[in-house]
């Protein structure tokens, strides 16, 4: 809440009229009675601070530390790994896996995000019409979200099996030759993308559907009276009014998709021949996928992912702020 009172000066003139009236009196006035209330405030603050420090700040610091040192199994145990600056990062950038992993991460994230959002939005608009059984059908669409990832990923992997999978059996029945979904370098990325879209659609559906509830029905009536057809009503009313909800859906989807690991690992292990390796699986592969773990480079790749997620988070905050000011 303090944000409103700490805005830079050049903005305050504009803000004062609207926000200052509603804002609480400045915090400094509490200075008169510092003891008991302030102690209580610290007391309330302490649990969450300790929790954040212990479970977020410390692991993050450790991960950073891990990525800046040259860890071998011996120095990992003895704790005397020499500081090597950015050597792990240089190693990761120079690795022949880096370029494909970057490309796969970008393609995977972009295709999943766009498809999940488009399908989720289409379904949300569809279910918003409240026909008979729409609630039941909507509930059914949530199933992928409710299933544990290991179950859905294993099921996909079984369905897409080249030899005994149900997908190839169906293709065979309609006269199409078998496709090596998971074992051909040109198909494996597409296969994991398909599975991930299926898993991500319900989340988009639910959030966008609830967003649609807040669009006033009167607007549609007015537009219909003005002669707008269904397509125009969607692009001129639904879509613009859903913008804040869409932005948060896409941001959460992006962060979720960037770090997707289980589905890919269970279905293809990032292979064959790195053809479905993303940063998330690569980081795991480096740190845990080998008998001789490479903790340093693994942590470095993990940090690159954190930075990517953070950058998009800041872009979002920036966008929101500009929208709020205009």
């Amino acid at each position: 809440m303090n944000h409103t009172t700490e805005l830079p000066n050049h903005r305050s003139a504009r803000v004062r009229n609207g926000a200052a009236a509603a804002a609480p009196p400045p915090a400094r006035s509490a200075k008169r009675r510092p003891t008991s209330t302030q102690w209580a405030a610290w007391g309330f603050l302490a649990p969450v601070t300790v929790y954040l420090a212990l479970f977020y700040a410390y692991p993050l610091y450790r991960n950073l530390d891990l990525s800046l040192r040259d860890y071998t199994v011996r120095s990992f145990v003895q704790g005397d790994a020499p500081f090597t600056g950015l050597a792990n990062y240089r190693k990761v950038f120079a690795d022949p896996t880096f370029a494909p992993a970057l490309l796969h991460t970008a393609v995977f994230t972009a295709v999943c995000l766009v498809s999940q959002y488009a399908i989720g939005l289409a379904l949300a608009v569809f279910f918003n019409q409240n026909f008979r059984l729409s609630a039941t059908l909507r509930a059914l669409f949530l199933v992928p979200w409710l299933l544990p990832l290991i179950v859905s990923a294993s099921t996909w992997s079984w369905m897409l099996n080249s030899e005994s999978g149900v997908v190839n059996a169906t293709l065979h029945a309609v006269g199409v030759g078998p496709v090596n979904w998971l074992t051909s370098p040109s198909m494996s990325l597409a296969s994991v993308i398909i599975a991930n879209i299926w898993i991500g659609v319900p989340f988009n559906l639910v959030v966008l559907y609830s967003g649609l509830q807040s669009v006033p029905a009167g607007l549609y009536e007015a537009a219909a009276l003005d002669g707008a057809n269904a397509w125009q009503r969607f692009w001129r009313i639904t879509f613009p009014l859903l913008r804040p909800v869409s932005a948060i859906t896409l941001l959460l989807g992006l962060i979720y998709t960037l770090k997707v690991f289980d589905i890919i690992w269970i279905m293809t292990k990032g292979g064959p021949a790195d053809s479905s390796t993303t940063f998330a699986t690569w980081s795991y592969q480096l740190g845990f996928g080998n008998l001789l773990p490479a903790f340093g480079p693994g942590a470095a790749v993990g940090n690159l992912l954190v930075v990517a997620a953070l950058v998009f988070g800041l872009v979002y905050v920036r966008m929101q702020r500009r929208q709020a000011l205009s």
Binding site: A19, Y58, L60, Q78, K269, N290, F295
Partner: protein, 415 residues
């Protein structure tokens, strides 16, 4: 009003973004700790990779017996085998290693390199009765870091019914050429040839090694012409349709499930599937994996080592040594290896096993011919070589590179 609530919302969004991203990577931070020490002084901790055995199992009862004999209580924790190596490294970092650790044999050299394990000079374990080819997997730099609890290895299971229908005499399968000819006959008869696991993990390398060694290749030269011939053999089987394309994603368990359908003539698999084979009602036989031009190929040894991790209080070694000696005594080894469906590491117990169950004879022979993956003083070089090897297998079988190119890329990356 509107403003501040929006501001709050976006702060919340940013915090969530950060939190989610952090949890994604926190798992690689290595800050988890598992408390291994029990409360009492007379409590000794033991970690094993047998989570399938609960408190009422024969294995747990044996541990209790050995504990009572040594006058202590054993606190046992079973881990998933792929987790155990990293768990042990973390525990050693925190200074709470277990007193006795049972761990997969290729991990021993890594843990030894990390300084986590005591040598037999320190812990006074007697390894004189153990077969030297099995013990080699736990040796590096002239020192021995534990004793095997049992061994297993790979061989070819064959389905008698399928072979009979295809008119293949199993006695004719002696080398790669005759094996491939048999596969061709089976395919012609409308059945499926062979299944194995070529997955992109240690399992894939493990399954490839008998062919690799059977061609006469060495792990120090992945790009040798012998190595290329072994990978070409697999590649051709896939190309001809003798082996299914699914081998690229098969674990040894899924490859076994394929064989258990009864459609396949051969399956490369391990001792541990014997119990399942009987249950599936298959009419099967077992054949050692042939070398390129006849004879038996060396298969890699599987199975675990019992080790004694380094402790601050060196006085604990004496009791740990008593516990390990009890676990690996002749009588107990026999029971343990029967439960685990392993071949014993000493000839004394092996003879007893064959006397009780003649079916084990080909397996005992295979174990005697087997070779440790980290043997030949490869030690911690093996994991790097193995990773490049399974990558090469995947590249070649999926068609993204020729066997020769895949293996030369592997060799230059493993150096």
């Amino acid at each position: 009003m509107n403003r501040s609530s929006r501001q709050r919302r976006l702060t919340a969004a940013a915090v969530t973004a950060l939190a989610v991203a952090v949890t994604a990577t926190a798992c690689s931070s290595g800050s988890g700790s598992t408390d291994a020490k029990g409360a009492g002084r007379g409590t000794y901790t033991l970690w094993d990779p047998y989570p399938q055995f609960d408190k009422t199992s024969a294995w747990a009862k044996l541990l209790d017996q050995c504990g009572t004999k040594a006058g202590v209580t054993i606190k046992r924790t079973g881990f998933d085998t792929s987790d155990l190596g990293n768990k042990t490294l973390l525990a050693a970092q925190q200074g709470n290693s277990p007193d006795v650790l049972i761990v997969d044999n290729p991990v021993v050299s890594t843990l030894a390199e990390a300084g986590v394990l005591t040598t037999t000079d320190d812990n006074k374990l007697d390894t004189s009765k153990v077969d030297p080819n099995l013990l080699a997997a736990g040796q590096s730099g002239g020192k021995t870091y534990g004793t095997p609890v049992g061994a297993n290895t790979l061989a070819l299971y064959y389905n008698k019914k399928v072979l009979k229908a295809a008119g293949v005499d199993i006695a004719s399968v002696k080398d790669w050429t005759s094996l491939t000819a048999a596969l061709a006959k089976v395919k012609k008869a409308g059945k499926k040839g062979i299944t194995f696991s070529a997955i992109g993990t240690e399992e894939g390398s493990f399954q490839f090694l008998p062919w690799f060694w059977g061609a006469g290749a060495k792990l120090t030269a992945l790009d040798s012409s012998q190595a290329v011939s072994a990978l070409t053999l697999w590649k051709d089987w896939l190309k001809q349709g003798y082996a299914p394309n699914s081998v690229l994603n098969n674990t040894q368990t899924t490859s076994w499930q394929e064989f258990a359908t009864g459609d396949y003539a051969f399956s490369e698999n391990g001792t541990w599937q014997l119990a399942g084979a009987r249950k599936a009602g298959l009419d099967y036989g077992v054949l050692p994996i042939p070398g390129a031009s006849g004879g038996n190929a060396s298969a890699p040894t599987g199975g675990e080592f019992v080790t004694v991790p380094v402790q601050k209080d060196t006085g604990r070694y004496a009791t740990a040594q008593k516990l390990v000696t009890c676990l690996t005594s002749t009588a107990n080894l026999y029971d343990t290896d029967t439960t685990l469906s392993y071949v014993a590491p000493t000839s004394e117990v092996q003879d007893k096993q064959v006397a009780a169950n003649a079916e084990l004879k080909p397996w005992v022979d295979a174990v005697k011919a087997a070779k440790g993956r980290t043997s030949d003083d490869l030690g911690t070089k093996y994991p790097k070589i193995s990773e490049q090897m399974w990558k090469a297998i995947q590249s070649a079988l999926s068609g993204s590179k020729s066997p020769k190119d895949a293996l030369s890329a592997a060799q230059s990356a493993a150096k």
